[in-house]
Symmetry: C2
Subunit: 404 residues, 2 copies
Amino acid sequence: MKACGLIVEYNPFHNGHVYHLESSKKKTNADCVVAVMSGNFLQRGEPAILDKWHRAEAALQTGVDLVVELPYVFAVQHADLFAKGAILTLDALQVDTVCFGSEQGDITPFHNAYSHFKQNEGNFTYQLQIGLKEGLSFPEASRRAYEQINLTTNELNLSQPNNILGFSYVKSIFDLKTSLKPETIQRTKSQYHDEEIENQIASATSIRREIISSKNLSEKAKSAIPLSTYHAFLTYLEKTSVLHHWEHYFTLLQHTVWTLDLETLRTIHGMEEGLEYRLKKTVNHAESFQHWMELLKTKRYTWTRLQRMFVHLLTMTTKLEMESIHMLKSIPYIRILGMNEKGRQYINERKKNLDIPLVSKLQQFDHPYLTIEERANHSYYLAVEAKKRARVKNRDIEAPIILN
Amino acid sequence: MKACGLIVEYNPFHNGHVYHLESSKKKTNADCVVAVMSGNFLQRGEPAILDKWHRAEAALQTGVDLVVELPYVFAVQHADLFAKGAILTLDALQVDTVCFGSEQGDITPFHNAYSHFKQNEGNFTYQLQIGLKEGLSFPEASRRAYEQINLTTNELNLSQPNNILGFSYVKSIFDLKTSLKPETIQRTKSQYHDEEIENQIASATSIRREIISSKNLSEKAKSAIPLSTYHAFLTYLEKTSVLHHWEHYFTLLQHTVWTLDLETLRTIHGMEEGLEYRLKKTVNHAESFQHWMELLKTKRYTWTRLQRMFVHLLTMTTKLEMESIHMLKSIPYIRILGMNEKGRQYINERKKNLDIPLVSKLQQFDHPYLTIEERANHSYYLAVEAKKRARVKNRDIEAPIILN
């Protein structure tokens, strides 16, 4: 079976994702689609609107054949580490191609850009360091460094978000010496960060905003998501009465900042350059999570970076726990969230060449990353009222979703 | 001016306290009544229903002349340490007598009991250790040790709660070689733990229960409290919409237990004999604070002891931070919560002989106990919605209440 790998967050799974899925399948001529998906916390440092089980199920019902979880330690990270975790996972699962959406839409410029990048990597790294020292944020410093080595004016513009992400995948594929073949499809016109739903292909941001602000699955929201996602929302709401967003975790974060000392705060991943002092200074004045973010934000501390730090603070994930991911040359295990019959066949076919554990039940395997995963889940589900919590939370210790 | 000292919690200040106040004044022939009161967390390990400022104000308006705060490190402790902190405070303030309510009502048996106790202290300590080793709770082991040295059958029955508390005061007064004179008045018939309001002198427990369960200041509740307390409730509710109880802190505690490791949990004061394992084991099943307590409670872990541990966990107060109080021979500072004109005169009169700082504004003084106090306040006010919080919380950095 020929498999195409997708790197996704599905927050939530929407029509743009359906398009990505179908186009990728066609472009790569794949029999089977494997998605590696963030869990309950996302790359940009946010709790997912629905938990990973309900997001995975919606994707499986609309054509993805196998969904595996990108470990927290890779998911809540900047683009390069996020890409590393995802590529290592797809490589371990022996998919043939990795197909991502980009503004560019053609893979050749990515290949050329990679060659050019490798020839200028020394200069790039140097320029990046200068930018960071000047106080630029990581994305801004990267953008400027790419510009310095002529990767924003050439055939591939690395100042566009999905080109950057795609280029991270390509870099990982080659730097990690995998046998994966990168492929890309052009994204439809809806922009990554669009705030309002304009047509049937809308950004995840606009869909979440519409649903959370209208407190309802309006016709507008329904028009932008497949039926399986609509059902996932209804089911999740019926079970928990909650759609997760940052404000649910505000009091927990205040408590943490107030009761932990500076030394302990400093052990948290993402707590850099005296951010712990800023947290202590601002916590008294914040009237909401949004307000706190506004008080904290500076040119150097970008929104995304602050949010990621808050996820790690909420889950108490330390720098020490994160250290090992830089050294990793392969993913230590694969956690299956769900599959259909084709996905199951694919797994059976590739299992014999798989030299790492396939975790389908948490109790069967022990790993420091799973300890972090457990804390992340505990924290995530605190947004759900205690009496309703067990029903969704216990899903995590059960077997994967099997679709017939 | 002759001053009488009272040791109180006023949770809330009720008619029984008014009776205690007036009778004590009469019995000791005092010009001025000084109360040392627990702050926002109480001896039995509970958040106070109203914050310390509103409780202090109610007491001042109904006849107490000066209210000072018993530091958290002494307040949320078993009877002996609670007594030590309160007696050291009243001794530093140079009051003449300390008058407590007891089932007994006559001070002579307390004197006799103290003499008898000192003669048998070795045996008492030995019996206490045996009881504790057998797995009895501290109160139960104490009760049995008192019984062994004949202090429960004699003229003073040390198995009754207010006699025990009173005896702790007497012990502290003499053991700490203060010049305070102990005095007692008989408690009226309402029992310490009565759960329902039966008459105008009702237990604080029954009053809190009535108010919290009826979500209202019912006529029944009003009949058991002075007008000043009624107004304190109205004012506090108007500002915060909250009357504090443990369920407000349930999610914060779950988060703490889920995200901290066993080693960190073990540093918390009151985390003894593997309680951290029990917490980790039960946290998943608890549907409310009450439910969690029921899951945790055993013969050895009494309700009060568990609640105190939860207060320290909520405020992240460690064993290390508490260590120094055992060595203390005097109180390190006095925090004034409020006074009327007579209280102010009294303070002025005694100030010249006072060799420790009188803290009326927090910014003027720095002490490790005040750092703990600050954390305790932060945690306490988390029950109040963020937007309303500053209004009550900032009271803590302002000047004391001055009543004219």
